[in-house]
Amino acid sequence: MKRSVTVALLLLAVAGLIMLPLFVSPNFINASLKMMIAALFALAFALAMGQAGMLSFGHAAYYGLGAFAALHLMRAVEMKLFYFPTPLIPLAGGAAGALAGLAFGWLATQRTGTYFAMLTFAFSELLFTIAPGLNAIFGAESGISTMRMPSWGFSFGPDIQVYYLTLGWFVFCTLCMWAFTKTPLGRLGLAMRENEHRARFLGFDTHVARTVIFAISCMFAGVAGGLLAVANEAANYTTFSAQNSANVVLQTFIGGVGTFFGPALGAAAMTYFGRVASDLTRSWLLYQGLLFVLLMLFAPGGLGGIISLHVRKVRAHGWRHLVAPYLLCLVSGELLIAGTVFTIESIHAVMNDAYRGARAAAGGAWVPYQALGYSFEPLGLVTWAIPIVLLGVGALLLPVARRHTIAAWKLATTEQPPQDAPASVIALRDGAV
């Protein structure tokens, strides 16, 4: 995309976020606030992973430390020990994250790849297991809570004020991280990701560089934690849980770790769907896991990778020849998704205690179950025909759609060699289609 188009799109997005509270319900304001925090956390994680190839399986440690540091500062302000403006509270989170990241990163970055992942995992698990025992710092099992104090003429009582506070921090941090990727250190991170030996051979102290990049990533994770503390006014030791570390990994890779904004979009989308879908289905985590594994298998670049691949593709060859095969893909994909969702929701509706109770009450008969807003007979012909037909037709269409899509991509690349043909050809070979 042209630079000016990118900037315009980003300004539009920020304007949209500023205007958002005018159009949505208060409940949604809170949801979008959490989405921004998740997006910031994912961007921080992606800074270490995407920029320097450091796969951290314990980023919740710095997120949690940031949250607790912010809470302690808020507590001190609440007890009138000293004055500190509420909007700047996340600074404490950033400081805590950076310090912890610097100290632990100095040790952990001596290792790479799987060993680094295991080290970061061990550190966050260590925090998670000892935090409930440390009363003074992490407030035992119940955690610590406090109140936001008014400052700068705002009360910081209603969600809307917290929303704008979070938005301000989100935009500021995103700009900082974007700028960081352009600095020499950021570029060195890329070099180390591709080939650390060569970077060292060129005379760079890669250990120091990796430590600093990791600490910066942890700092922004800490800011995200601090924002969470400001929003929730409370936190307990579960902030350190492997669940939080796992979520940020899932969301970032679904969004696409190779692109700058992919992780943020992935985290925001997954958090949003997590909220919306948790009302509709109890199997949301299963759908998220399936999406993640499918992307890992067929499109390692994530959703962001797919989009950026297509932006380049469309700019080089236009989009008309892709319409027909993609429509086929869409139909096939929709059928498969519909069949999968129907199956999962049906299993869920039948395999639980409530349904077993209903069956027992009916004397063991297979009583109708409710799924997706309709009632189905468990042994009915239609009930079994729906998923079989959906999945069957979808699976039959899939190879056809795949063949046509590959043909369309190849046709375009051979007819009019574009500037970035190698990239698209490589993507094609790697099965990104």
């Binding site: 796969l55 952990a108 060993y115 260590l126 409930p132 440390l134 199997s283 299963l286 993640f292 390692p300």
Partner: protein, 313 residues
């Protein structure tokens, strides 16, 4: 004394169970460099399969089927998923298995609900093997230990005394040389992956009947399994055995001891000072016992990444 003997026995059995699960993981890692994040989820799968089959046909049949189901699933995952992403590198394989762990857990929850399931040993195995002082020591714990020891002996003999074992061991050191000598490397990998996951499934079916079986069992156990594999040395079966016993016995002792740094300092007359400082110094060992394995894991990975018995990093 009673506490000592019982804790030692419990710890040994717990350690042997840990070993059953981590043996497969360490073999897979040593051979393919794949850290199978989902490994403990095969342990969970084994317990759920054991439960389902034992309700239909009987306990022993469940014990037989659980490793078969886990091993088959492992073989399929290796063939159709891991092999696809192999060229993207080890971090990518780790991420894929991480996603698979999610799916296994959620699918099991879909069928069996979010709560614990009532997987029980058969009633004729529910008796005290012997009495230590006043404690009845359950026979089933000894049974679990015996299964694990039996498995270790079989695995050890298989690896050191058979032709397949020689090829597998050679493939962990020089995979491409083995391939050049005409052995089908992908099939060897697939076989090791299947055996590793089958062992985890067997452990799940055996242990699930004694310990609580529920959606959290994989996470609780899985974290410890990583510790064992890292401490014992990635790829070393003997190292995994030593590390498992160490960690099992340590946890078993630590949860029952009311010791803190302050009480240790009390021995040299600094007790009251330590108590006034508080914080980490007065933390009871029992409350931080679960954290100590992770500390150990961090130390080993930092100081000696090859682990206790490993010879490679």
């Amino acid at each position: 004394m009673e506490y000592f003997v019982v804790s030692l026995l419990n710890g040994t059995v717990h350690g042997l169970l840990l070993f059953m699960v981590s043996a497969g993981l360490t073999l897979i890692f040593g051979m393919m460099g794949v850290l199978n994040f989902a490994h403990a989820w095969f342990y969970m799968l084994g317990a759920y399969v054991g439960f389902t089959v034992s309700r239909l046909t009987g306990f022993w049949f469940g014990l037989l089927l659980a490793p078969i189901v886990a091993g088959l699933l492992g073989a399929l995952i290796e063939r159709f998923m891991l092999r696809r992403v192999h060229h993207h590198g080890h971090a990518h394989e780790l991420l894929l298995t991480f996603g698979l762990a999610f799916i296994i857990e959620e699918v099991l929850k879909l069928f069996y609900g979010d709560g614990l399931i009532a997987y029980q040993m058969p009633s004729y195995m529910r008796f005290a093997a012997f009495n230590i002082y006043d404690t009845n020591y359950p026979f089933y714990r000894l049974f679990m230990g015996a299964v694990a020891i039996g498995m270790f002996v079989v695995l050890y003999l298989l690896l050191t005394r058979t032709r397949i074992g020689i090829i597998v061991r050679a493939a962990t050191y020089r995979p491409y040389t083995v391939e050049a000598l005409g052995h089908n490397l992908p099939v060897i990998f697939q076989g090791v992956f299947a055996v590793g996951t089958a062992l985890a499934g067997l452990a799940g079916a055996v242990a699930g009947a004694f310990f609580p079986t529920g959606p959290n069992m994989a996470v609780d156990f899985g974290t410890l399994v990583f510790v064992v594999v890292a401490v014992g040395g990635l790829g070393s079966v003997v190292g995994a055995l030593i590390a498992s016993l160490m960690i099992g016995i340590f946890i078993s002792f630590a949860v029952g001891l009311d010791v803190s740094l302050a009480s240790l300092l009390g021995l040299v007359g600094l007790g009251s000072w330590a108590r006034s400082v508080g914080g980490l110094l007065t933390l009871q060992l029992s409350t931080i016992a679960n954290g100590v394995p992770f500390l150990l894991m961090m130390l080993v990975l930092l100081l000696r990444p090859a682990g206790l018995m490993g010879d490679r990093t």
